[in-house]
Point group: C2
Chain length 127, copies 2
């Protein structure tokens, strides 16, 4: 049966973070670089970073040979959200511990969503 498997995506939301951390591109860059290093991901090109004006948040986006890694912060909600999409199997990053230690997060939700499509019934490649 033909597998139509484009890997998995981790969706992470964490709140209770400190405003300072959520406004610090340096802190967020250190977090994403740690994810890249510990999961042996491969960054392609220069990451995109943007600090929104006033009291708004920061966005970072890494294009990976494994797909992508993104972070968005919402200081007004004490909230950070991350996406890690990996089209090849990767171990799980210790999100709760690291988001607590680095950003002060008090609650972390991690969901792992398959990006696979089920094989088509009666697929001619079905053996």
């Amino acid at each position: 049966m033909r597998a139509v498997d484009a890997g998995v995506e981790w969706l992470i939301e964490a709140d209770g973070c400190t405003h300072e951390a959520l406004r610090s591109a340096e802190t967020l860059r250190a977090l994403l670089d740690d994810v890249v290093r510990r999961l042996s991901l491969n960054v392609v090109g220069a990451p995109l970073w943007h600090t929104f004006p006033g009291h708004a948040g920061v966005t970072g986006m890494y294009l990976l040979s494994e797909s992508h890694l993104t972070v968005h912060t919402y200081p007004e909600l004490d909230l950070v959200t991350l996406n890690l999409y990996a089209c090849r199997p990767r171990p799980e990053y210790p999100w709760s511990a690291e988001l607590g230690a680095r950003l002060g997060a008090t609650r972390v939700r991690v969901r792992c969503v398959s990006r696979a499509l089920e094989p088509v019934a009666g697929d001619p490649n079905d053996g």
Copy 2:
């Protein structure tokens, strides 16, 4: 009650696409630009595009003031996957029709995932 709402993310997978479309950064750029235009999204900075070597796919990533829009293609699987993360309400893009017309997709799955965290029980801001 304090809402901890960072919007919704659409996760789209579509297969049956033509190899030509999945290897064409121009075709994919036209698709993402159409999404941006029709949903009145705001692109921040220059989008990131990468065409992987050989017969591999193409990745595009747009940083938005609404969060992000990404596309990854897998020509070996006839597959494209997209993410649209919007932290303010947006209408739904006609994914099935456009991915069929532009990429030849024969099957399209669209999921809409909340990025909200439930308010904490007993939150001191709970009115």
